[in-house]
Structure formats: C-alpha cells, structure tokens
Subunit: 263 residues, 2 copies
Amino acid sequence: MIIVKIGGGSTINIPGVIEDLAGIDERYVIVHGANALRDKLAEDLGQPKQVLTSVKGYTSVYSDEKLLNVMMMAYAGLRNKRIVELCQQQGINAVGLSGLDGKMVQGQRNKGIRVYQGKKLKIVRDFSGKPKTVNAPLLQLLLDNGYVPVLTVPIIDELNAAINTENDDVVRVLQQALKADTVINLIEAPGFLEDRNDAGSLIAKISAGELEAREQQVEGRMKRKILALRKLFEHGASRIVIGDGRREHPVIDALAGKGTVIE
Amino acid sequence: MIIVKIGGGSTINIPGVIEDLAGIDERYVIVHGANALRDKLAEDLGQPKQVLTSVKGYTSVYSDEKLLNVMMMAYAGLRNKRIVELCQQQGINAVGLSGLDGKMVQGQRNKGIRVYQGKKLKIVRDFSGKPKTVNAPLLQLLLDNGYVPVLTVPIIDELNAAINTENDDVVRVLQQALKADTVINLIEAPGFLEDRNDAGSLIAKISAGELEAREQQVEGRMKRKILALRKLFEHGASRIVIGDGRREHPVIDALAGKGTVIE
C-alpha cells in the first residue's frame, strides 16, 4: 500500500503524477493539497489569508468560517474534481472525498492557538484541528471495489463541524489505518535541501532517527512537516520519499529513489 | 426509495431540509443545485455567466472551462460539503459526490447548441451534455453500508471530461437506476403556479398526462424542467411533489402533499 501526497503548490505536474499512477500495480490512496489555489482564490475574493504563528513557532492559517468556505471550493471542489477527472482519463476509477464525507477523517478541534499579539499573549480559536482517525472500513470498501480514494481537507471534528488541518497530518492517520509501508510526498523542490535556497544541496538519504535533529534546524511550515514525518515512522512506515512534484515523472522517479529517501 | 432534489436558489432552507430528512425511515438520495451560489461566485471572480437560448427556446448556461471551474467550486465544493456537514450534524452519514467520482453520472457531451447570433444561425460547443447512466452499483454499495449519497454536477462525458448538465436530468437517470417511486423537488415557490407572479395561484394537483400541455405554456428554464418531469413518469416514477424549499419543514410538508403533487 502506497500513500501518494500531492503538494498544493502551483508548479506541481499533476497530469504527470496521475499518468505515473496509472501504471502502478500496487494499491494506493491519493491525498492532495491546494494551498496555492486557495490563496489565489482568497485573494480574488478579497479575503486574503491570515497566518498565525504559535508561541512555539509553528505557523498555521487562521481558519474562520469564510476561509473554510474558500477551502471547500479550492480543495474539495476545484482541485479534487480536476484530479478525479485526470484519473478517469487515465483509467483510474477515482472517488474524491473530503474528510467530511462518510466522516472519512475525524479530528479534534483546536482549543485555541497561543499567539503573541504585539507583546500580549492571546488565545485564538478557529476552525482548525488535528486528525485523529480515518474511516478505514469506507476506505477498504472503496479499494476492494476497485475505486481509488482521492482525499483532501477539510476534515470533521468531534461536534461534526468542518475544520481545517494539515494534509501532512491526514497522511499520518491514514498511514496508521492502512498500514501503508511507503509514503510519497511530492513537493516543489528536488527533495529536502540542506540549504533551502540551493537546489543543489539535496539530501539524498536521511535515517528516521535523524529527523528530530532536522526538525530543530528549520522553521515555520517546514518544522511542522518534519514533525509529521517523524510520527509516520512511529506508526510503522518503512519508507518515505520526498520527491520533486515538478518533474516529468514525479511518481516513477520517487519510487526509483530520486529525491530524499527517509528510511 | 425517495429522491430529494434541493434547488440551487439562495432562499432554500437547507438546514430545515436536512433536519426533516433525519427523521425519515425510507432510503433516499439527495441531489442538489447551487446556481445562486455559482452565479455570485462567477460575478465575484469577474466572469459573469452567459446564457445561451437554443433555436427551440431552451435556455442553458454557456459552460466553458472557466465556468466548469466555478461549478466545481460552488456545487461540488462549497455547497456539497456544507450539506454533507449539516447531514453529519443531524446523524445522517452523508457522502458527497459529483458525477465524476466513480463515474457516478455518465453523460454524452452536446455536439453543439444551435443558437441565433443576431440573425445568424451558429453552432456553439461547450462542456455541457446530457446524463445517460448512473453508477448504480456504487450507489447501492454506499446505501447498503449506511451512507446517504449527496450528488451534484458536474458529470463525466464519454471521453471522461467534466461537463455541466441540468440537475433535473440527473434526477431522471437516477430515478431510472434506483426505481425511486417518489421524487421531491424543492424550489423557491409554493409549487407550480398558474401565474408565476401570483403565489396564490398554486396548482395543487396535476396528472402526469397534463404535463405535455403545461410544457407548451411556459418558457426558458421552466420548459426544460417540465420536460424532465415528463420523462420521470415514462420511467416508472409514481409520485412527484414540487414543494416549497423555503418552508420550516420542506420535506415533511412535501411528503404530506403540500405543494404541487403530480401523479
């Protein structure tokens, strides 16, 4: 079982990803982002996103009801359905689902994010949270009947409200539920870079044990991403490939070990 | 089996519809529109819709790639996911799907719509078409496992491209596949009106045989809607209720025969 995460950047070669997947024999589930699309849509609608930075240094998007609406449009609507369409054109019988559908991804809403406003400590509560479980029976039902699930945010919280979450965290609970051995994470870079401004500084291999040290070296969104990767290994993943989603054959190349292999 | 069609007008009481459905014992499938939402979104994005009127007098929205994007956002994204969320909050384990997902609704793309441009006859081809079949096995799989399908456009054409279609036509192919005996059609009016400008002119009952004559009396979008209703009876529906979606209890009232009952 493979989990393929397609990043939400604007330069990811999605048709190439789907074409590659059409040639794969193993079972897989797709999880995708749409952050570039969401940001553009929010801008076009005159409601640019606000980013919160927690006191611990993790960043997240301030997810009020309006932003959730935009996310439903960008992630669960446009991006999800165009990916499903591409899948169908390649002979993959995809079914696109948000975490709300059949309670596919259930989470717990954040009680509040501790942020500094100027020098004041403030607790901000929005519609965001952490995924806790997935509806594994529904996933298996679809997989057993020849359908490929294409999952995205939002997810559903303990009171059945739509909440935003990080797709990296969705991948984590999905990996636990499906016992996926391989996770392919397609991003807009050659893989993990020693120096983020130097595309030539690719780290070809990282041991799972090294991840904690790496987490300390980075900031913001990347910090959160490495934390999510670390947790994958705690729950039985054996191989993660951070691959370049912009290549002609993003999935074939990632499976061949191009990018950063963590194992 | 009941098919509940929720119209896409802005004043439909969707929470009331879902609350009513939570109390129903019979199996049902939801089909919903989102035309008011789509039009507003298209306006907000600076790409207002264009309407085509065929030489036969039927009107339809000109569905280019951009409009399909907007539809994916409005119908399959925002409206679909907020309905699924409301369902989950009422204990209905809903799964929202477009016609693309698992090829739920397959159709045939229009070869072209014959329109007059000034006095010139022109054939315009867009991403629109007619639904032909539904994926009944996937619907049954979901229903048998306790899920309520919540369906909307776009659908998928014979070359696996996303196309726009009328939700009334989706209801028609769905009714054929599911052998639904009852179709509830919730709109922004008390039912069929003798005079569309007089809310007091409700027609409480119409026989199925009368529909053809009615079709001749009306124009534009309503003409197309009555045609779709007529076809429902050709394929075994026994009762259609056109109910007021703006009421406190749209579904309970429709099932009690309030609105226009066609049988």
